[in-house]
Symmetry: C2
Subunit: 216 residues, 2 copies
DNA sequence: GTCAGTGCTGTGCACACGCCCAGCACGCAC
DNA sequence: GTGCGTGCTGGGCGTGTGCACAGCACTGAC
C-alpha cells in the first residue's frame, strides 16, 4: 500500500512516451521560457493529448523537478567525464563557457522564484555541482603552480561562471560588444597559467618565477 | 484624432494611482517572479480593482515596458551620479555588486524570452548602460595606470558584472559558499590597482612598477 | 476464458487570465 | 445648470490552465 491516500494512477517512469513529453517540455522551456511550459503545450508539441501529461506526472511541480533533475544529472556526468579526460584550466573554462548551460541555469533560477518545490532541488544541485567544480579548479590551479592565496579556487570558479553567464545572457539579447575580446583575453590568461605548469613539469626547478618563492 | 482606431480611454501617466500600481507590480516581480505579475494580482496588492490596471495600461506589455523603463532610468541615473562623485574602480565594483540590480536584470531577461516587445527595449537599455559603464571603467583603469592591453576595460567590466550576477543568483538560492572569500579577493585586487594610482599621483615619476608593464 | 494491469482519452470542473464596454460619480469650465 | 473630462467599477466574454474521474482497448498471467 502506498502511504498516500491519493489513488490516482501514474504511468511508468520508464515509459518512452514520458521521455518524449519531457523532451518537448525541455524544448519549450529553452525556446519560449518557463511560462510556456504548460500541460497543453507540452502535449501538443509532443503530438499527444494533454491528459497524458497528468497521467505521467502527478503535478506540474513533479514534471519540473523531473525536468531539472534529468538535465542536472546529465550536466554533472558530462562535466565529470570531461574533467577526468582533461582537467586543465583551459578545458574547465571551455566547459563553463558553453552558453547552453548558462541559459538553462538562468531559466530555472527564474522559475524557482515561484515554485518552491523546485527551489530546494535547484539549491541542492547547485551546491553539489559547485563543490565538485571547485575541487577540479583547485587541482588545476595546483597543477599550474598557482598558490591558493594568489588566486583561490572558488574565486577562479565564480569568475569563470560569472563571465560565462553574462556572455550567455547578453547573447540572448543580441548584445555582443566586447565578447570576442573578453573570450580571447581569458584564453590568453589561462594559457599563461598553463605555461607555468608546463615549465614546472619540464624542469625540476621553477623557471622565471623563482623571484617569489615564499608566496607559494 | 489619434492615428489608432482603438478608442479606449487611458488614464493619465502622471496619476499617483498609476504609480502605486507600478510599485505593486515591481514588488510582485521581485518577490515572486515575473509570472506572478498579472493584472489581478497587481491590483489586489495595491488594494484596487483589476480593471484599473487596464485603465492605465493598454496592454500588459505596455505595463512591463513602463516597469522596466522606470527602473532602468533610475538605475542609469543612480550610476551616473555615483560615478560623477567617485569614479574609482572600488566604487564601480561596489555599484555593480549591489545584488538588487543583478536580480532585477535577471528577472527581466527571463521575461524577455517570451515578451518580444520587451526584448528590444531591454537590449537598447543594455547597450546604453554597457557603453556608459565601459567608459567609466576605462577612465578608472587609465587613472590607475593599467594598460588597455594588460586589462581591457570591457573585460574588467564583464568580470565585475558577471561576478555580481552569479553572487546575486546564488544568493537567491541560498547558496553562499565562498562568496565572502570572493568579495574580499576582488576588494583586495582593486585596492592594489588603486594603490598604483595613488603612487602615480604622489610622485611625478612612475613608481616601482615600470619594470613590468606587460605582466598581470 | 477471465481478469488484472497498463497506456491512453473524452468529458468536465473551477479558476485565473487579458481585455472590453457601458456607465457612475465628481469636479471644473462656461 | 449644463456639459465635459477624468477616475474608477460592475459585468461579462473568450481562452487557457491544472487536475480529476470514469472508462476504453490491449496484453500477458493464470
Amino acid at each position: 500500500m502506498a502511504s498516500v491516500p491519493s489513488s490516482r494512477r501514474i504511468g511508468s517512469p520508464d515509459s518512452e512516451t514520458r521521455t518524449q513529453l519531457l523532451d518537448a517540455a525541455e524544448r519549450l522551456m529553452r525556446e519560449e521560457g518557463y511560462a510556456a511550459v504548460t500541460s497543453r503545450r507540452i502535449a501538443s508539441k509532443a503530438g499527444r493529448k494533454h491528459q497524458l501529461v497528468h497521467y505521467y506526472f502527478r503535478t506540474m511541480d513533479d514534471l519540473f523537478i523531473e525536468l531539472f533533475r534529468r538535465r542536472a544529472e546529465e550536466n554533472i556526468g558530462r562535466f565529470e567525464r570531461a574533467i577526468a579526460q582533461d582537467g586543465s584550466l583551459g578545458n574547465l573554462w571551455r566547459l563553463n563557457a558553453d552558453p547552453r548551460g548558462a541559459a538553462f541555469t538562468l531559466e530555472f533560477v527564474a522559475l524557482a522564484n515561484h515554485r518552491k518545490a523546485l527551489r530546494a532541488e535547484i539549491a541542492r544541485y547547485a551546491e553539489h555541482f559547485r563543490s565538485s567544480q571547485v575541487e577540479a579548479v583547485r587541482r588545476a590551479l595546483v597543477d599550474s603552480g598557482v598558490d591558493e592565496d594568489e588566486l583561490p579556487a572558488i574565486v577562479a570558479l565564480l569568475m569563470m561562471t560569472g563571465l560565462a553567464q553574462v556572455l550567455a545572457l547578453e547573447d540572448t539579447l543580441g548584445v555582443t560588444a566586447g565578447h570576442d575580446t573578453t573570450v580571447e583575453f581569458v584564453g590568453r590568461a589561462i594559457a599563461q597559467l598553463e605555461a607555468r605548469s608546463a615549465d614546472r613539469r619540464e624542469s625540476g626547478t621553477p623557471s622565471t618565477r623563482d623571484d617569489a618563492p615564499r608566496e607559494g
